[in-house]
Amino acid sequence: MIRILIVEDDENIAKLIEATVTIGGYEGVVCDNGAEAFERMEHEDFDLILLDVMLPDMSGFEIMRNRTSDTPVIFITARQELTDKVRGLRLGAEDYIVKPFEAMELLARIEVILRRVSKPETIYEYGNISINVEEHTCRQDGELVYLTPKEFEVLVFFIKHKDVAVSRDSLLGAVWGFDYEGETRTVDIHVQQLRKKLGLKQRLVTIPKLGYRLESVKS
């Protein structure tokens, strides 16, 4: 299981981040001060670190400068000035999230980073659908179903986040990238295609005002 170190001094926000990463299927480890976080970073193995910039004992930037491991880091901070952002990224952070943030945005960003740095799981099963990421194939009851690359990625994202309402924006960010400036209509078209091709009309449901949700298969 993928382990994520959450460094955040505010108890409630730490709890929030932990709950959010759990939805994404990761294990969150919370740490509420800089010194301890630094120790754990140096001696334990994590796949990703979510680092608050303003910590009571030392700043996230300081931790970033002094650490020796190269685990990817996402800064989480209330400061949204560009200079802070540039400084964070220049110190080697993979991304920079400004508080307050949405749960799905955090998850999507985590996913983008993890996909970049680690080898993702290759095979997903969902009911009678099986997906092989490495081969880029999707089979339903053993029969190959042709999907465009984007449709394929959208499907993988939904399967990874079963039972979670995914907004069009966060889906757009996770699949097309956060700097993609297309319209959310694009997402609707791809979701309709998926429903048609895989017969998911009943399970890939529309949630008014929010987005879509793939419901898990009750066995």
Binding site: L16, A19, P56, R79
Partner: protein, 479 residues
């Protein structure tokens, strides 16, 4: 044109004018003197010649025992006496009919002039003196041997004129040399004198461009060093003001930074958890309750923060309602309302206040006592004690809030009155603190022109003492 160029040029022109005019005047003067002398010499010569000639004639007449010498003999004597000569003055005799009788040297074209002179002398004057060109003509009417003669001497003065012209050329040349020498010296002097001005100029430019710490070198005691001194005074005051402004800006930025952090933290939790509640299907009941609890708790934190912030802003705007109030009554009211909270934390709250009147804003005073006591309650654990005491020292009203709580580390005391500063953030947040209470108290005390003093020993407790003037009806302080 630059100042040094102006000074240099004007001085040079004035000096050259003075030198030129003086030398030309002097030269003119000496030339006239020389001319006058020459003229006198020529006159003397003229007289000498004619007197001599006359005495020769008389001697000869006596020797020949004649009454009158004939004109031809006179003419012979003229030739004998003056002979022919190339140098010296030219001498000429004319008879009564103005016909030339004798001349010792051929003259050039002076016939017209001589004729005019002869006419003039004939009409009245004994003798006549005329300077024509560079030649001096002297003509006189003489009676010799019962006949009238005209005697003319011409003296060439061109030597003096040549000398004068020579001098003029020489003066011009010397003036040129002088001008060169003076301009070289002037250049150095002016540059030297104005050099400090350039230093001031550079220094001022540097200061104007933002090097406020820079100072101009002050040398000597002249006007320029005075200027430098005043410039330095100006720079110092600019530097002070800029520093003060920067400090204010820095303070404000710090405040905004802290405020945005303090607001975003609860906002993040509220938005995040409500988001989770919205998107997650089939959330277990206990999780749902936990999330809802956090949302409500954080929303309350925002409420406290915004309330305190509003208070702080209104205090800053200073719309104070000054009234003379009875303090003991006010303190009893506050103590009674706070006692409920203290009891719920199992803390003993004691309040003792001398009777007396004080000029104050009642609401602000309440807020002050409330905040200080609230801080004390937050710092004190179960079984602790809080003691509020008020008394008068002449017209100064003093009150102290003492607790038996955790205390404040010595190195933190100076900073705890800053907005958003919390010694222990986690602990303060749990107790619903926003970090604005003491900042508010400081503002209120400042508005009442009082002093707020904090003494604390970690582990033993804290005493906050406030001293305010204007007690026992000695008049309003906001005069």
């Amino acid at each position: 044109m630059k100042l040094w160029q102006k000074i240099f040029l004007y001085t040079l022109i004035l000096v050259m004018l003075a030198v030129g005019i003086t030398s030309i005047l002097l030269l003119q003067n000496s030339f006239e003197l020389a001319l006058e002398q020459q003229r006198k010499a020529a006159c003397r010569e003229h007289d000498y010649f004619i007197t001599n000639f006359k005495s020769i004639l008389i001697t000869e007449r006596l020797r020949q025992n004649m009454i009158v010498l004939p004109a031809s003999q006179v003419q012979d004597f003229m030739e004998d006496t003056f002979g022919e000569g190339e140098s010296g003055s030219r001498v000429a005799f004319y008879d009564r009919n103005k016909e030339l009788m004798y001349q010792n040297r051929e003259s050039e074209a002076d016939g017209e002039l001589v004729k005019r002179l002869l006419n003039l002398v004939e009409e009245g004057e004994e003798s006549y003196l005329q300077l024509q060109g560079r030649v001096l003509y002297i003509l006189s009417r003489e009676n010799m041997e019962s006949s009238t003669y005209y005697f003319l001497t011409t003296t060439d003065l061109s030597e003096i004129f040549r000398l004068h012209e020579d001098m003029l050329v020489r003066v011009r040349f010397i003036s040129m040399l002088c001008a060169l020498a003076i301009s070289a010296i002037l250049l150095v002097v002016v540059k030297l004198l104005l050099h400090p001005l350039q230093i001031i100029n550079e220094g001022t430019r540097a200061i104007a461009q933002g090097e406020y710490h820079r100072r101009i070198q002050e040398k000597g005691k002249d006007e320029i060093s005075e200027l430098a001194h005043n410039m330095n005074i100006m720079a110092a005051s600019v530097e002070r003001n800029v520093e003060a402004l920067e400090a204010v800006a820095e303070n404000r930025k710090q405040f905004i930074d802290n405020l945005s952090h303090e607001m975003k933290t609860p906002l993040t939790s509220i938005l995040g958890f409500s988001d989770l509640l919205m998107i997650k299907k089939d959330l277990p009941e206990e999780k749902r309750m936990e999330y809802m609890g956090i949302v409500s708790e954080e929303a309350k934190r925002m409420r406290t923060l915004s309330g305190k912030l509003m208070e702080l802003i209104t205090v800053g705007e200073a719309n104070v309602d000054w009234q003379e109030e009875e303090v003991s009554q006010l303190f009893c009211e506050i103590a009674a309302s706070l006692d409920v909270i203290a009891q719920s934390h199992d803390i003993i709250l004691r309040c003792k206040c001398e009777e007396g009147r004080l000029y104050m804003d009642k609401e602000l005073m309440k807020s002050l006592v409330y905040n200080l006591t609230d801080n004390a309650i937050k710092a004190t654990g179960e079984g602790g004690m809080i003691d509020i005491q008020g008394w008068f020292e002449k017209e100064v009203f003093v009150f102290a809030v003492a607790d038996t709580g955790i205390g404040i580390p010595a190195e933190e005391i100076d900073r705890i009155t800053q907005a958003f500063y919390m010694v222990d953030k986690v602990r303060s947040r749990k107790k619903g603190g926003a970090g604005l209470g003491l900042a508010l108290c400081t503002e209120i005390v400042k508005l009442h022109r009082g002093q707020l003093q904090i003494e604390s020993k970690p582990g033993q407790g804290t005493v906050v003492t406030v001293r305010m003037r204007g007690g026992s009806g000695c008049g309003p302080k906001n005069d």
